[in-house]
Amino acid sequence: MDLGVIFSIAGSGLEAQRVRMDVIASNLANAQTTRTPEGGPYRRRDVLFVTTPALPGTFQSALEAALRQVQVSRVVEDPRPFPEIYQPGHPDADERGYVQLPNVNILEEMVNLMAASRAYEANITILNTTKAMALRALEIGR
Protein backbone atom coordinates (compact mmCIF):
# COMPACT_ATOMS: atom_id res chain seq x y z
CA MET A 1 0.00 0.00 0.00
CA ASP A 2 1.47 3.32 -0.98
CA LEU A 3 -0.20 4.90 2.03
CA GLY A 4 2.35 3.28 4.28
CA VAL A 5 5.02 5.88 3.57
CA ILE A 6 2.82 8.85 4.42
CA PHE A 7 1.49 7.13 7.51
CA SER A 8 4.94 6.32 8.79
CA ILE A 9 6.27 9.81 8.12
CA ALA A 10 3.34 11.49 9.88
CA GLY A 11 3.50 8.87 12.61
CA SER A 12 7.12 9.73 13.25
CA GLY A 13 6.16 13.39 13.50
CA LEU A 14 3.47 12.55 16.05
CA GLU A 15 5.93 10.49 18.05
CA ALA A 16 8.55 13.27 18.03
CA GLN A 17 6.05 15.88 19.19
CA ARG A 18 4.82 13.56 21.91
CA VAL A 19 8.36 13.12 23.24
CA ARG A 20 8.80 16.88 23.12
CA MET A 21 5.64 17.32 25.19
CA ASP A 22 6.97 14.77 27.68
CA VAL A 23 10.07 16.91 28.15
CA ILE A 24 8.00 20.09 28.44
CA ALA A 25 5.87 18.41 31.10
CA SER A 26 9.03 17.44 32.96
CA ASN A 27 10.23 21.03 32.81
CA LEU A 28 6.94 22.43 34.05
CA ALA A 29 6.62 19.93 36.87
CA ASN A 30 10.16 20.68 38.07
CA ALA A 31 10.05 24.44 37.68
CA GLN A 32 10.61 24.92 41.41
CA THR A 33 12.87 21.96 42.15
CA THR A 34 15.96 23.17 43.97
CA ARG A 35 17.40 19.77 44.84
CA THR A 36 18.27 16.96 42.43
CA PRO A 37 20.14 13.66 42.99
CA GLU A 38 23.14 14.95 41.06
CA GLY A 39 23.26 18.14 43.16
CA GLY A 40 22.02 21.59 42.37
CA PRO A 41 18.69 22.69 41.03
CA TYR A 42 16.80 21.15 38.10
CA ARG A 43 18.27 22.16 34.76
CA ARG A 44 15.84 22.73 31.93
CA ARG A 45 15.84 20.05 29.26
CA ASP A 46 15.11 20.26 25.56
CA VAL A 47 14.88 17.79 22.68
CA LEU A 48 16.90 17.66 19.49
CA PHE A 49 15.21 16.45 16.31
CA VAL A 50 17.09 14.68 13.57
CA THR A 51 15.91 13.36 10.20
CA THR A 52 16.06 9.69 9.26
CA PRO A 53 15.35 8.22 5.84
CA ALA A 54 11.71 7.32 5.40
CA LEU A 55 12.44 4.50 2.96
CA PRO A 56 15.60 2.74 3.99
CA GLY A 57 17.51 1.02 1.24
CA THR A 58 20.34 1.72 -1.13
CA PHE A 59 18.57 1.54 -4.50
CA GLN A 60 16.11 4.36 -4.36
CA SER A 61 14.69 6.81 -6.79
CA ALA A 62 15.43 10.49 -6.22
CA LEU A 63 12.02 11.02 -4.67
CA GLU A 64 12.31 8.09 -2.29
CA ALA A 65 15.71 9.22 -1.12
CA ALA A 66 14.38 12.72 -0.36
CA LEU A 67 11.58 11.58 1.94
CA ARG A 68 12.53 11.94 5.57
CA GLN A 69 11.12 10.94 8.90
CA VAL A 70 11.86 12.77 12.12
CA GLN A 71 13.30 11.29 15.25
CA VAL A 72 14.36 12.60 18.63
CA SER A 73 18.14 12.21 18.65
CA ARG A 74 18.76 13.16 22.26
CA VAL A 75 17.60 15.23 25.19
CA VAL A 76 19.99 18.08 25.96
CA GLU A 77 20.25 20.28 29.00
CA ASP A 78 19.92 24.01 28.78
CA PRO A 79 23.27 25.62 29.61
CA ARG A 80 21.81 28.96 30.68
CA PRO A 81 22.75 30.03 34.25
CA PHE A 82 20.41 29.48 37.15
CA PRO A 83 18.55 32.48 38.54
CA GLU A 84 19.25 33.21 42.18
CA ILE A 85 17.01 34.65 44.83
CA TYR A 86 17.94 35.82 48.27
CA GLN A 87 16.32 33.51 50.81
CA PRO A 88 18.60 32.82 53.80
CA GLY A 89 16.08 30.59 55.60
CA HIS A 90 15.80 28.11 52.76
CA PRO A 91 17.38 24.69 53.45
CA ASP A 92 19.17 24.81 50.08
CA ALA A 93 20.59 28.32 50.54
CA ASP A 94 24.36 28.65 50.16
CA GLU A 95 26.61 30.57 52.55
CA ARG A 96 25.65 33.94 51.08
CA GLY A 97 21.95 33.20 51.57
CA TYR A 98 21.12 32.79 47.92
CA VAL A 99 19.04 29.90 46.55
CA GLN A 100 19.51 28.77 42.95
CA LEU A 101 16.25 28.11 41.12
CA PRO A 102 15.81 26.05 37.95
CA ASN A 103 16.37 27.92 34.69
CA VAL A 104 12.82 27.09 33.55
CA ASN A 105 10.80 29.99 32.20
CA ILE A 106 7.11 29.13 32.53
CA LEU A 107 6.05 31.39 29.66
CA GLU A 108 8.65 29.91 27.35
CA GLU A 109 7.49 26.39 28.22
CA MET A 110 3.86 27.29 27.60
CA VAL A 111 4.71 28.69 24.17
CA ASN A 112 6.68 25.54 23.38
CA LEU A 113 3.74 23.48 24.57
CA MET A 114 1.39 25.30 22.19
CA ALA A 115 3.82 24.87 19.31
CA ALA A 116 4.16 21.16 20.01
CA SER A 117 0.39 20.78 20.24
CA ARG A 118 -0.14 22.56 16.92
CA ALA A 119 2.52 20.47 15.24
CA TYR A 120 0.81 17.33 16.59
CA GLU A 121 -2.51 18.48 15.15
CA ALA A 122 -0.89 19.32 11.81
CA ASN A 123 0.46 15.78 11.50
CA ILE A 124 -2.96 14.39 12.36
CA THR A 125 -4.47 16.57 9.62
CA ILE A 126 -2.06 15.00 7.15
CA LEU A 127 -3.17 11.52 8.22
CA ASN A 128 -6.86 12.35 8.00
CA THR A 129 -6.53 14.02 4.62
CA THR A 130 -4.55 11.11 3.21
CA LYS A 131 -7.08 8.58 4.44
CA ALA A 132 -9.96 10.65 3.03
CA MET A 133 -8.18 10.83 -0.34
CA ALA A 134 -7.69 7.08 -0.38
CA LEU A 135 -11.33 6.39 0.44
CA ARG A 136 -12.43 8.83 -2.25
CA ALA A 137 -10.18 7.11 -4.76
CA LEU A 138 -12.05 3.90 -4.05
CA GLU A 139 -15.18 5.59 -5.39
CA ILE A 140 -13.77 5.89 -8.89
CA GLY A 141 -16.18 4.36 -11.33
CA ARG A 142 -18.97 3.90 -8.83
Binding site: M1, G11, L14, L127
Partner: protein
Protein backbone atom coordinates in the same frame (compact mmCIF):
# COMPACT_ATOMS: atom_id res chain seq x y z
CA UNK B 1 -23.01 -47.51 -23.51
CA UNK B 2 -19.87 -49.54 -23.22
CA UNK B 3 -19.25 -50.54 -19.61
CA UNK B 4 -15.51 -50.45 -20.12
CA UNK B 5 -15.69 -46.68 -20.25
CA UNK B 6 -16.79 -46.67 -16.64
CA UNK B 7 -13.78 -48.70 -15.62
CA UNK B 8 -11.53 -45.90 -16.79
CA UNK B 9 -12.72 -43.75 -13.90
CA UNK B 10 -10.99 -45.21 -10.88
CA UNK B 11 -11.42 -44.00 -7.36
CA UNK B 12 -7.99 -43.63 -5.83
CA UNK B 13 -8.37 -43.72 -2.04
CA UNK B 14 -4.74 -42.85 -1.41
CA UNK B 15 -4.96 -39.35 -2.83
CA UNK B 16 -5.36 -36.79 -0.05
CA UNK B 17 -8.62 -34.99 -0.56
CA UNK B 18 -9.59 -33.44 2.72
CA UNK B 19 -6.82 -31.07 3.73
CA UNK B 20 -5.98 -29.73 0.28
CA UNK B 21 -7.79 -27.10 -1.68
CA UNK B 22 -8.54 -27.87 -5.36
CA UNK B 23 -5.14 -28.18 -6.93
CA UNK B 24 -5.42 -25.21 -9.23
CA UNK B 25 -2.52 -23.22 -7.86
CA UNK B 26 -2.71 -19.98 -9.85
CA UNK B 27 0.43 -19.23 -11.80
CA UNK B 28 2.35 -16.13 -10.86
CA UNK B 29 1.01 -12.98 -12.41
CA UNK B 30 -2.52 -14.22 -12.88
CA UNK B 31 -5.41 -12.42 -11.32
CA UNK B 32 -5.91 -15.13 -8.75
CA UNK B 33 -2.38 -14.73 -7.44
CA UNK B 34 -2.82 -10.98 -7.27
CA UNK B 35 -6.06 -11.35 -5.35
CA UNK B 36 -4.42 -13.77 -2.94
CA UNK B 37 -1.63 -11.32 -2.25
CA UNK B 38 -4.05 -8.49 -1.63
CA UNK B 39 -6.10 -10.62 0.75
CA UNK B 40 -3.00 -11.70 2.65
CA UNK B 41 -1.90 -8.08 2.99
CA UNK B 42 -5.36 -7.07 4.23
CA UNK B 43 -5.36 -9.89 6.73
CA UNK B 44 -1.92 -8.91 7.97
CA UNK B 45 -3.03 -5.30 8.47
CA UNK B 46 -6.13 -6.41 10.35
CA UNK B 47 -4.11 -8.62 12.67
CA UNK B 48 -1.61 -5.83 13.20
CA UNK B 49 -4.41 -3.43 14.14
CA UNK B 50 -5.82 -5.97 16.58
CA UNK B 51 -2.43 -6.45 18.18
CA UNK B 52 -1.84 -2.70 18.41
CA UNK B 53 -5.17 -2.12 20.15
CA UNK B 54 -4.48 -4.98 22.53
CA UNK B 55 -1.06 -3.56 23.41
CA UNK B 56 -2.63 -0.16 23.97
CA UNK B 57 -5.31 -1.55 26.27
CA UNK B 58 -3.07 -3.71 28.41
CA UNK B 59 -0.52 -1.06 29.29
CA UNK B 60 2.41 0.84 27.89
CA UNK B 61 4.22 -0.27 24.79
CA UNK B 62 1.90 1.34 22.26
CA UNK B 63 1.05 4.94 21.63
CA UNK B 64 -2.47 6.05 20.96
CA UNK B 65 -1.55 7.53 17.60
CA UNK B 66 0.28 4.39 16.50
CA UNK B 67 -2.79 2.29 17.26
CA UNK B 68 -5.03 4.74 15.38
CA UNK B 69 -2.69 4.67 12.39
CA UNK B 70 -2.80 0.88 12.34
CA UNK B 71 -6.61 0.99 12.48
CA UNK B 72 -6.77 3.49 9.62
CA UNK B 73 -4.47 1.37 7.44
CA UNK B 74 -6.57 -1.73 8.11
CA UNK B 75 -9.77 0.13 7.30
CA UNK B 76 -8.52 1.46 3.98
CA UNK B 77 -7.23 -1.95 2.99
CA UNK B 78 -10.55 -3.60 3.86
CA UNK B 79 -12.51 -1.00 1.88
CA UNK B 80 -10.28 -1.69 -1.09
CA UNK B 81 -11.00 -5.42 -0.93
CA UNK B 82 -14.72 -4.73 -0.65
CA UNK B 83 -14.60 -2.56 -3.78
CA UNK B 84 -12.70 -5.25 -5.67
CA UNK B 85 -15.39 -7.75 -4.70
CA UNK B 86 -18.11 -5.37 -5.84
CA UNK B 87 -16.48 -4.92 -9.22
CA UNK B 88 -16.04 -8.65 -9.66
CA UNK B 89 -19.66 -9.35 -8.81
CA UNK B 90 -20.75 -6.61 -11.19
CA UNK B 91 -18.64 -8.05 -13.99
CA UNK B 92 -20.07 -11.50 -13.34
CA UNK B 93 -23.61 -10.22 -13.46
CA UNK B 94 -22.86 -8.37 -16.66
CA UNK B 95 -21.62 -11.57 -18.24
CA UNK B 96 -24.64 -13.51 -17.03
CA UNK B 97 -26.93 -11.00 -18.66
CA UNK B 98 -25.53 -11.70 -22.11
CA UNK B 99 -27.95 -13.40 -24.43
CA UNK B 100 -26.76 -16.70 -25.86
Amino acid sequence: MDIRLIQGMQWNPSSPTSAQPPSKAPDQGSFGALLERVLEETNRLQLEADAAVERLMTGRGENLHQAMIALAKAEVSLQFVIQVRNKMVEAYQELMRMQI
